[in-house]
């Protein structure tokens, strides 16, 4: 039952993605409400999936790599729905839908929906640590999306080739401001998430600690460079893409390893 909810949710993200691709290819992109509503409906179904799964498990549904990916996809949608309209980044939906679609499709097809036999005992600190950290990843994912938009927009302006999508992009300075805010939001949440991890009362796997601190330091360095003003916005945008891609790969690797070996 819960997987069906997820399938329909994935379908909504797929529709939002297809509509954008068709519009862009047709040279007539309009940031209509369709994307926002498709993502909102997808989000409602993601929430329903996580609720059903959580009730069945009797804890926050973060017990397998599959659930981690879906929770991450849910966080991305949540941050988009909160941040997108507020910063007039309606076009962000065009970039968010493929990202969420990719995460969910991978989770559904990769046969990773298997519960790990060795589970840590449920604890409020552990659940706070896991959920807040993943919501932080949602903010970093959106910073990555805004970074991509910045790079596309900057490239068009540099090359003086403007397509129909160009006119729907937010101004470069607005995008850069959004990147900065999303980085701060993600960084603050990640700090809370990591700090909560130290209160779980359980032995901490050293690889996870190293990985978490590595990601934290990477984002701290990006924010530091941003506020020193010595790094070009284009480089910051590119770093957001690199940082999130690296962090996502590591998240997958670490979660996968922690399910197969005791880390």
């Amino acid at each position: 039952m819960d997987r069906e909810l997820l399938l329909v949710s994935t379908l909504f993200f797929f529709l939002a993605m297809v509509r954008t691709v068709v519009a862009i290819r047709g040279g007539n992109y309009q940031p209509a409400g369709f994307n926002f509503f498709a993502i909102a409906l997808g989000f409602v179904l993601q929430t329903a999936f996580l609720t059903v799964r959580g009730q069945a498990l009797g804890r926050c549904p973060l017990t397998s790599l599959f659930e981690v990916f879906i929770f991450l996809a849910w966080s991305v949608s949540l941050i988009y729905l909160l941040v997108g309209p507020a910063y007039r980044l309606s076009l962000m939906g065009a970039f968010t839908a493929p990202l969420v679609f990719g995460l969910q499709t991978f989770a559904l097809l990769a046969l990773i929906d298997q519960r790990h036999p060795r589970q840590l005992d449920p604890s409020p600190w552990l659940e706070l640590h896991a959920s807040v950290s993943l919501i932080a990843y949602g903010a970093f994912a959106l910073a990555c999306v805004a970074g991509l938009m910045y790079l596309v927009q900057e490239r068009q302006l540099k090359r003086r080739r403007l397509n129909s999508m160009f006119y729907h992009f937010p101004p470069l300075t607005d995008l850069f401001a959004a990147i900065t805010r999303l980085l701060w939001l993600g960084f603050a949440l990640l700090t809370v998430g990591i700090a909560a991890g130290f209160f779980t009362g359980q032995p901490l796997p050293y690889v996870k600690i190293a990985w978490s601190l590595g990601v934290w330091l990477f984002y701290a360095a990006i924010l530091f460079a941003r506020h020193l003003g010595t790094t070009a916005p284009r480089a910051i945008a590119a770093l957001c893409v690199v940082a999130f891609t690296a962090a996502l790969s590591l998240l997958w690797g670490i979660t996968f390893l922690s399910q197969t070996r005791s880390l």
Partner: protein
């Protein structure tokens, strides 16, 4: 009831001829009293003179053209050939195209909608527009809005000045806190600067070899004149640099710009070079955070926008066709009520 439109536009007449038929204050009264139109609306813009009217009996184009003559006594000769005439649903379709900017000289321009609204308000106020024209124009305004929002017909600037301002908006968003430096006080840079002031720029500095000319332009655009020798100092602070000097070789190069950009890496610099020969070396565009547009690239974007607008005509026509179909239902019923005649005359002469 006959609904028709008679007029001339940039498609059929040059400006000299259009001026002759620009109409006069009493033209709608004459059309009603002398020619027997029951409803009249006169739409006069710099590119068209059109009469939209409803009448019990057909009224020849020559008589309407004669009414429109600014100097009533001038004889009409072959000038009347420049007039077009659209009747019934063709008239409806024509108005929808005009209001949507599909018939304009610059396709997709939106000024025409404001002019049509003004003409309609004037006709309502004078009592010249009745239920037919009321319904027709209200629908035309709706159609124009739909065409504008559902297609890209108004997208993209189509003149050099507006392209520059649009690009600046795409880089900076708001203009209130932006600083602009004009290098040279030529007419082209003045036009662009005025457009930026209109969009909210408050801080404009003018550097020119002739200090008097710089001061004169600064006064015109509420800016300040600065010595030409100090342009590099000001360049550190500004967001937009507009250059149009008469220099014969580039005055802005990578070597003199690099030290100026060192402290402002997180702030983009938009350079508009409208000088011929160019004031800014082309490789400046390769510098981090610099966006350089010269006259050719601005003109090319304007042409590109026009081409994109042309591509949107078919989508606009489709929306219009749907509305003409809808409107015909009401129109047939209204005609039947008025003259008891079910058929519609849709010929165009």
């Amino acid at each position: 009831m006959n609904l028709f439109c008679v007029g001339l536009s940039h498609h059929t007449a040059d400006v000299e001829l259009r001026e002759r038929f620009a109409g006069h204050a009493a033209v709608d009264r004459r059309l009603r009293e002398e020619l027997g139109c029951t409803e009249v609306l006169l739409l006069t813009t710099c590119n068209r003179v059109e009469v939209y009217a409803a009448a019990e009996h057909p009224i020849p184009t020559e008589r309407i053209a004669h009414c429109l003559l600014a100097a009533n006594t001038t004889p009409l000769g072959e000038e009347v050939d420049a007039f077009y005439r659209h009747e019934a649903l063709h008239c409806v379709q024509h108005l929808f195209r005009v209001a949507s900017g599909l018939d304009s000289m610059v396709i997709g321009e939106t000024e025409i909608l404001g002019q049509a609204k003004k003409a309609y308000a004037a006709a309502r106020e004078s009592g010249a527009a009745g239920p037919f024209l009321h319904r027709l124009f209200q629908r035309a305004f709706r159609v124009a809005k739909q065409v504008r929002t559902r297609t890209d017909i108004t997208r993209g600037a189509v003149s050099v000045g507006s392209v520059a301002v649009d690009l600046a908006a795409k880089i900076f968003g708001h203009f209130e806190k932006r600083k602009v430096l004009l290098l040279g006080a030529g007419e082209a840079s003045e036009r662009t600067a005025r457009a930026l002031v209109k969009r909210g720029v408050r801080d404009i500095r003018v550097a020119n070899r002739s200090v008097e000319r710089a001061q004169a332009l600064a006064n015109l655009i509420s800016g300040s004149a600065v010595p030409m020798e100090e342009w590099e100092t000001h360049c550190r602070e500004v967001d937009i640099l507009i250059s149009s000097t008469a220099a014969t070789s580039p005055i802005v190069t990578q070597s003199n710009l690099a030290p100026l950009l060192r402290d402002r890496l997180d702030r983009p610099l938009f350079i508009i070079d409208i000088a011929v020969p160019r004031d800014v070396a082309p490789d400046v565009n390769e510098m981090e955070g610099v966006f350089l547009y010269d006259i050719d690239s601005l003109q090319s974007i304007a042409q590109q926008s026009l081409a994109q607008r042309r591509e949107q005509i078919a989508a606009g026509e489709e929306i219009i066709a749907g509305h003409v179909g809808d409107f015909s239902g009401w129109f047939v019923a209204a005609r039947e009520r008025t003259i008891g005649e079910p058929s519609l005359r849709t010929s165009e002469s």
